[in-house]
């Protein structure tokens, strides 16, 4: 088996025993990136020299008999929403083009301290807003299974690079499905842990009550390995949980007998692609054969998930993204006169607002943000600002918060009678690039099965459970109560011992 085809668990073991040098391991993945990323566009930055230096240092320490970290020599790709001191952090936005964070995200620091090697930063929807990666200011990622199709989003680069063997593991973030949906569309495994399980310090904020970082890999076992390192309390993130971090890898092999899995009838309603429905039904049968029992449960407010999410997330985003003012970092528009001359058409850049700007400073803010943000980010900032503005706050934002509680209560009730809920990740397999770009609302509906997890603050995992007749991966989602990561990983791992969907790899042009 080639180096790049080996699992993260195998790679870490091979480097530890000396069967494989960290240098050979890192070189193999860097070589794969150089060979195929021209087709996929998964990476916004690759840290070739630094990664090889780090690998050489790990090999040196091993040769000297000194201790190595738990992920020594493991190449990891990191979504460009996490701060890294040695590579730019752009969130795939012109607003942050070339931005160099002065500190590492907590997750990045933990990976480095465990001797993982960060090979690059992955492409994404701008500021993590989108479900197709087409909102990147640096071009869309292409799905390795069909280069004319989306990898999903927003962590599309992280999903695609794992699917194409450019990294054994990637870090993503999930605000409404941004780990699970691209994992499903790219045929890999992605875990959105419980809100607060992993520190968000150094993750560029989108919607702070929903954002969560998680691992993406080719198997649940590989996700468990990485989660052990990156989970846990961080005094630098007041929302990170203090609960002890279980040994996720050692809990993987517990039997599934007696596991109660919930099936939600409305998951199988209108809009669900028949091939996806069939793949998911077969997964239920596999779990039953493994000793689990299936029970019908209801999530009565699930249909309100998308409208609730598309109020709360834009409201929080409009507040979080107010920090991009062109004053302290990020893009700043050239002074007024020069800008208009350069544009050649002053009228085009006139504010549509009657009365103009309040001051040169406000004008600088408005022009910098207009130039730095792409259309979807502007749309969500506008929607959030509108929903929070005087006269609308109660009807929209406060209303959505009340419905959010109803959605959370639905899950709490369901988890009194079942241990996990299973269903599709996305209503369809990967769609064509450009197919939904003209209709923002149609794009929002791709999150219909995933937003509930974030609104309730619970955990979810997605992994492949079949392929369409045309060869596109079909994803299964499991959702579990708060801090059920050991169970989510165990169930996914057991499924992956019984099936081979997660082993399949796309054939990319050489």
């Amino acid at each position: 088996m080639t180096i790049v085809a080996r699992s993260a668990v195998e790679l870490v073991a091979a480097v530890r025993t000396g069967e494989l040098s960290a240098t050979a391991c890192v070189e193999a993945f860097l070589g794969r990136i150089a060979a195929v990323d021209g087709h996929v566009n998964a990476f916004l930055a690759v840290s070739r020299e630094r990664a090889l230096e780090q690998a050489a240092a790990i090999d040196g320490r091993r040769a000297a008999g000194r201790p190595l970290g738990s992920l020594a020599g493991l190449p990891v790709a990191v979504k460009d929403a996490l701060c890294t001191t040695d590579m730019p952090t752009t969130c795939a936005s012109k607003m942050l083009a070339g931005y160099r964070p002065p500190y590492d995200a907590e997750v990045v620091g933990r990976l480095r301290r465990a001797d993982a090697v960060i090979v690059g930063k992955t492409n994404m929807d701008e500021f993590a807003m989108g479900g197709s990666n087409e909102n990147s200011a640096f071009g869309p990622v292409r799905n390795p299974w069909d280069l004319s199709r989306t990898p999903g989003g927003s962590s599309g680069g992280s999903a695609a690079c794992v699917a194409a063997d450019m990294a054994p593991v990637a870090i993503g973030s999930d605000t409404g499905g941004s780990i699970r949906q691209p994992a499903g569309l790219c045929g890999i495994t992605g875990l959105k842990p419980t809100y607060g399980r992993i520190s968000r310090r150094g993750l560029v904020a989108f919607a702070s009550s929903l954002d969560q970082i998680g691992p993406m890999a080719r198997s649940a076992a590989d996700c468990a390995l990485v989660l052990e390192t990156i989970a846990g309390h961080d005094p630098g993130d007041a929302t990170s949980l203090g609960d002890a971090v279980p040994g996720y890898t050692t809990l993987l092999d517990e039997p599934l007998a007696g596991l109660r899995i919930g099936r939600v009838k409305t998951h199988f309603g209108p809009g669900l692609d028949p091939a996806v429905a069939e793949g998911v039904e077969q997964a239920f049968a596999t779990f039953e054969a493994a000793g689990a029992t299936i029970h019908e449960v209801e999530l009565p407010h699930a249909d309100y998930g998308i409208p609730t999410y598309y109020l709360i997330a834009p409201c929080e985003a409009s507040s979080n993204l107010a920090r991009y003012d062109g004053a302290h970092y990020g893009h700043r528009a050239k002074p007024d006169g020069g800008h208009r001359a350069a544009a050649g058409n002053g009228r085009q850049h006139e504010p549509a607002a009657a009365g103009g700007f309040d001051s040169p400073l406000v004008e600088m803010y408005c022009r910098s943000r207009a130039e730095g943000f792409g259309p979807e980010v502007k749309r969500r900032i506008m929607l959030g600002t509108y929903a929070l503005s005087a006269g609308y706050y109660d009807a929209f934002y406060a209303k959505a918060l009340r419905v959010r509680r109803l959605i959370q209560q639905d899950y709490l009730t369901a988890f009194q009678s079942v241990d996990l809920i299973a269903g599709p990740v996305s209503p369809t397999p990967a769609f064509k690039l450009g197919e939904k770009t003209g209709d923002p609302l149609a794009m929002y509906l791709v999150d219909m099965y995933t937003v509930g997890t974030n609104l309730a603050g619970i955990g979810g995992i997605s992994f492949p459970c079949g392929f369409t007749p045309t060869g596109l991966p079909i994803g299964l989602q499991l959702q579990g109560p708060a801090l059920s990561e050991p169970l989510l990983l165990r169930a996914a791992h057991r499924y992956q011992q019984l099936t081979e969907w997660h082993i399949r790899r796309p054939a990319l042009p050489a």
């Binding site: 607060g196 004053a327 001051s359 600002t385």
Partner: protein, 100 residues
């Protein structure tokens, strides 16, 4: 529920986004459609439901009020579009627009 061009222009200024006329026009249609869609929440009776702003509710986190390491001035200024070595430089805070 639909938004007017004036609504969108006003929100653009509140959001500190200089929108072109074409953007205002396009966004008026798009936002009207989205607002109409999210308005379906009004069908639910939530009179007795408490708002849920955050999955981890009412949890204060304190630490001792002691100095902690922080960024140096050089680090803080390192990504600034314009600075004089000690301060961020920006256009005039007061005065007429366009006087930059």
């Amino acid at each position: 529920m639909s938004l007017s061009l004036q609504d969108v222009s006003k929100v653009g200024l509140l959001a500190r986004l200089a929108l072109t006329e074409a953007e205002v026009e396009r966004m008026t249609g798009e936002l009207s459609k989205i607002v109409e869609f999210v308005s379906q929440l009004s069908a639910l009776d939530t009179a007795t439901v408490e708002p849920l702003a955050h999955p981890l509710e009412t949890r204060n986190v304190f630490r001792e009020d002691e100095p902690q390491p922080s960024l140096t001035p050089e680090q803080a200024l390192s990504n600034s579009p314009n600075h004089d070595g000690a301060c961020f430089l920006v256009p005039a805070v007061l005065g007429e627009s366009g006087a930059a």
